[in-house]
């Protein structure tokens, strides 16, 4: 036996062993290898035989044309990560395990949509799987040139490995009925394979760059000289058309999200959201590393091997050339791993979709028609899946034999990518946009898929029928503008780019357009909220309201028994009831709706949400609640919340208003009090002279005969005096009131200060003489001109001077000082002074009246208040220096 046969067998055994151990001892394993790293490495299932062989082949022709496939995922990682987290949560909540279930669930649990998606995926990916099988076969052929009957060997090995791969998938891809179980063994194996792939690639790369050639520089130099010497063609620059480049990157990025195998490893098998965050940069790093030597190897291949050599095989060729058995073995195994990983995971995912979205719903529908439970389905679900896997691999196998001979890995890969990308608008749009409708998803996938087939598949069948040939060459009905490979004759688009551009544009536009014009059913709307708002809490509770029917315990148990062991289903039901305090009566009694919901959830994990829903509704005798009701409740909740907010705002506004009113009220009260005080004081002040006037008058009247002329004169004089006092008081009050109300208009004029002072001096002379007070004036020699209301200022100074005289003992003086900007006039007396705390209150209206404790000379007490108001009107500040006990000084500042 060939040593490579042995190696192959051993490798398969190793893979099985790893899977088995990993399943059993995952915790111990996690001590050596971080789960996050395992997650990232499992994502590397993205790198298939396309990476291993196709990239180098592409690089050899175009230099960089292989890059978009890896740049796409790199660029789209942030978006992918965000989507994955959301998907992980939604899938956990609704027990979704594959893409067709996801899309079907999002758009209202539509079975037809799920079936469509499953079908499209299967059609789009079988060619890709076929290519991987071809790669496996290539590897094997490569290591067996010495065989006697290489063809026979190749066929045998091919079949054998296909079977083994299927077996691996069947065993480790679906262990339990509940497809929500994680397949730890599978994932660890995939991760292991990713390591082998990478290591092998890097080792060959190193050998080529530093073993075969002395250094990368030498390699490149040799290449350049040969190109310039004309021995080798330069790279085909046409491959780097910007639009084509962009489209290739875009499609790779989208495919990264929509490929079933990527969904399987990234979402379904994920067990910790944090791993997603790490993968954002770690996975691109893996891509970077595995592509590191692609170009060098491609260039080296061009140099070393003839132009007829298939560049896809450069990696294997170099491994063999190195004459290092280890290297060869590693590359061989790496190539196998690359292909096997893809086949296994993709098959599992596709089979899952096939079963949940097409087979089981069909089966359930048939049973419904026949009016019986699909009891024979039972544990058959697991075998159903396995059968599906086998079916898919077989289809791929046949496809490979029929068609794949002529196609390069790279081109098939891209075609497959474009096919799966057709789900992207419905998928990504569904996850992010609430308004996406089922009709839109349906229409967009159909439209996109149709264009995909038209532009990328049709031309491959040109040889099959003259009609097709005709369409391909000249367009349908002879319309050249609609030729499949170049619709509308857009320039610079190779057929692949043409296909990408048209299928995606029509798809996206259809999705958005149809969504805007169609309405969602209530269930769709509910699901849209559940998906898009997955990070908010609102909806899970609402889902609980859905089922209002009744089903007996026995019915539920029977239903579950179709799929689970009877003991298991009984246990599940009882545990649930116990946890939620539901009392289970005898079997025939109707149970709580929660039990029904629970049963539905359990079934979802087994046969998918859509089918499960169908089954439950068929056994529970109820009408589906108008989901509008549920939606209304949810909307009501939202309304209540927003109403609540509005109320809160209103309340705080009202509070503010009431606070404002309170403070205004306070102010009004104060003003009221002030008014009362004013009235009281004024009346008091008016009554006092009135008393004298009246008394004097009465006495004069009653006792006139007794009075002599002098006495009479005295009395009458006093009456007049008191009347004058009253008049003065009244006018002062009125003046003050005018000042305060702002009604007084100042009468400005320019005048000389000296003249004013002389007038004042003259007018206070009598008082000075009476009290024998000395008066001194200090004035600057220069002329001091003021611009103010002369009469009012006269009043002010008169008032200040008379006050000073009132309180002075012997001296008063007036001092005028002038500097550049202002004039200071101070009036001082040597009286008792003013207590410091009263320097401001002396200007209050009724200061003197209220403070009768002071020695009160004649005067109404309003003088200072009026003076202050006058000065305020002029905006001249007045300062009081309470020089107690040396006397008070009043200082007026006049700005020039």
């Amino acid at each position: 036996m060939n040593s490579y046969t042995v190696l192959t067998v051993l490798y398969f055994i190793l893979l099985f062993w790893i899977a088995r151990i990993a399943t059993r001892h995952i915790q111990r394993l996690n001590r050596f290898v971080s789960p996050a790293h395992i997650y990232v490495l499992s994502l590397a299932v993205y790198c298939t035989a396309w990476t291993y062989f196709g990239s180098i082949g592409n690089a050899a022709r175009t230099g960089v044309g292989f890059l978009p496939v890896y740049l796409g995922p790199t660029f789209i990682m942030p978006l992918a990560a965000m989507l994955w987290v959301r998907m992980i949560r939604v899938c956990a909540q609704q027990r979704i395990t594959n893409l067709s279930d996801l899309i079907s669930a999002r758009y209202g649990n539509s079975i037809s949509l799920g079936a469509l998606v499953a079908l499209c995926y299967i059609v789009g990916i079988i060619p890709y799987i076929a290519i991987q099988l071809k790669a496996v076969s290539t590897c094997m052929v490569f290591v067996s040139p010495q065989m006697e009957h290489p063809e026979a060997w190749k066929t045998t090995m091919n079949l054998y490995s296909t079977m083994v791969i299927s077996l691996f998938a069947m065993i480790y891809g679906t262990r339990r009925t509940d497809s929500a179980e994680k397949h730890t063994g599978l994932i660890v194996t995939i991760a292991f394979e990713s390591v082998i792939k990478l290591v092998a690639f890097l080792m060959v790369g190193f050998w080529v760059c530093f073993g075969l050639f002395s250094s990368p520089a030498a390699l490149f130099d040799q290449f350049v000289s040969q190109v310039q010497g004309g021995q080798i063609h330069p790279f085909d620059a046409a491959a780097m058309d910007p639009l084509g480049w962009f489209l290739a990157i875009l499609v790779s990025g989208l495919a990264f999200i929509t490929l079933p195998r990527q969904f399987q490893v990234a979402v379904t098998e994920n067990n910790d959201e944090r791993h997603v965050g790490k993968s954002i940069w770690m996975f691109p790093l893996y891509l970077f590393l595995i592509n590191l030597f692609v170009l060098p190897i491609a260039i080296a291949g061009r140099l070393v091997y003839s132009a007829e050599t298939d560049p896809d095989t450069f990696l294997l060729l170099f491994a063999r050339k190195s004459d290092q058995g280890l290297l060869m073995a590693l590359v061989y195994l790496g190539g196998l791993s690359a292909a096997i990983g893809m086949i296994v995971v993709e098959t599992i995912a596709l089979s899952n979709m096939l079963t949940n979205s097409m087979v089981i719903p069909g089966w359930v529908a048939l049973s419904k028609k026949a009016n019986r439970l699909p009891s024979s389905l039972g544990k058959g679900v697991v075998w159903l899946r396995r059968a599906g896997m086998l079916l898919i691999i077989m289809l791929a196998y046949f496809f490979e034999h029929l068609v794949a001979e002529r196609l390069t890995i790279s081109s098939v890969g891209f075609i497959s990518f474009v096919a799966v990308s057709q789900m992207a608008p419905a998928l990504i749009g569904g996850m992010l946009w609430k308004n996406g409708t089922r009709a839109a998803a349906f229409a967009s996938i159909c439209a996109g898929f149709f264009i995909w087939m038209y532009t990328l598949i049709l031309s491959n069948f040109a040889g099959w029928s003259p009609v097709i040939e005709q369409v391909v060459q000249h367009g349908p009905w002879g319309i050249a503008l609609l030729r499949p490979t170049n619709i509308l004759g857009l320039p610079n688009l190779d057929p692949l780019s043409n296909g990408i551009f048209w299928s995606l544009s029509v798809n996206v536009l259809t999705f958005i357009g149809v969504s805007l014009f169609t309405k969602q059913s209530a269930e769709e709307a509910l699901q849209a909220e559940a998906f898009v708002d997955i990070h908010k809490v609102a909806v899970p509770g609402a889902r609980q309201l859905e089922r209002r029917g009744s089903a007996s315990l026995a019915t539920l148990r029977n239903l579950l028994n179709s799929f689970l062991q009877p003991r298991k289903s009984d246990q599940l039901l009882r545990n649930f009831a116990q946890r939620h305090g539901i009392v289970l009566e005898h079997d025939a009694a109707a149970t709580d709706s929660r039990m029904i919901n629970f049963t539905e959830r359990v079934l979802s994990g087994i046969i998918g949400a859509a089918s499960s829903r169908m089954l439950i509704s068929s056994v529970s005798s109820q009408e589906r609640i108008a989901f509008t009701e549920v939606l209304d409740v949810a909307k009501e909740q939202q309304q209540v919340l927003s109403l609540n907010n509005k109320l809160k705002r209103k309340t705080s506004e009202l509070k503010k208003m009431s606070d404002d009113l309170k403070s205004v009220n306070e102010q009004l009260k104060i003003i009221d009090e002030q008014k009362d005080e004013f009235l009281t004081t004024v009346t008091h002040e008016l009554r006092t002279p009135l008393t004298s006037i009246r008394a004097l008058g009465e006495v004069l009247l009653d006792h006139d005969d007794v009075f002599d002329a002098a006495q009479r004169k005295h009395y009458l004089g006093t009456i007049v005096q008191e009347s004058e006092r009253m008049t003065r008081l009244i006018s002062q009050i009125l003046t003050l009131e005018r000042f305060e109300a702002g009604r007084y208009k100042l009468n400005y004029s320019s005048f000389e200060l000296r003249a004013l002072m002389e007038e004042l001096t003259e007018s206070i002379q009598p008082l000075l003489e009476e009290k024998k007070i000395s008066f001194q004036v200090f004035m600057p020699n220069t002329m001091v001109v003021l611009r103010a209301d002369r009469d009012l200022l006269w009043q002010v100074f008169y008032n200040l001077l008379t006050n000073a005289i009132k309180y002075a003992k012997q001296h008063i003086h007036l001092h005028v000082a002038q500097d550049l900007q202002s004039i200071r006039i101070s009036i001082a007396d040597d009286g008792p002074g003013i207590p410091a705390e009263q320097t401001q209150t002396i200007f209050d209206k009724f200061y003197q009246i209220k403070n009768k404790k002071l020695l009160k000379p004649e005067g109404s007490g309003m003088g200072l208040a009026i003076s202050k108001r006058i000065l305020d009107l002029h905006e001249y500040p007045i300062q009081v220096e309470a020089n107690k006990p040396n006397g008070a000084i009043f200082i007026v500042h006049i700005e020039q």
Binding site: T688, S692, R694, E698, D702, T718, K852, K853, L854
Partner: protein, 125 residues
């Protein structure tokens, strides 16, 4: 029968003038005081029958003087009459609570006042 004595206290001389004339005309012995201190001084030295008190005065206000009068047993028979521009009910009741015999609000009629005072004296006997 000795002449009745009256003490008049007000810081406004213009009211004292006619009152003094009137009381003198009616045969009273009149004492005047321009402020509380003077008044108390006079009270110490004499026992007036009537004390006519202004309330709002610079140093000691009329209420305090009344209180002091009423505190002395010697002055039991002295009638206190308040005369004041303060006319609100609280001020008036305060005056009566302090033991005033009469409270007249300014401006008042001298004829009424004199009559009431004469009545008080007659009542005392």
């Amino acid at each position: 029968m000795s002449a009745p004595t009256i003490l008049m206290v007000d810081d406004d001389p213009h009211i004292l003038m006619p009152l003094e004339f009137l009381m003198f005309k009616h045969g009273f012995e009149v004492f005047v005081a321009r402020n509380g201190t003077e008044a108390l001084d006079i009270i110490d030295k004499n026992t007036p029958d009537i004390v006519l008190l202004d309330i709002m005065m610079p140093d000691v206000d009329g209420y305090q003087i009344c209180a002091q009068i009423k505190a002395q047993p010697r002055l039991n028979n002295t009638a206190v009459v308040f005369m004041s521009a303060k006319s609100n009910p609280d001020d008036i009741s305060k005056g009566y609570e302090l033991g005033a015999a009469l409270y007249v609000t300014k401006p008042f009629s001298t004829r009424d006042l004199v009559k009431k005072i004469l009545d008080m004296v007659k009542a005392k006997g």
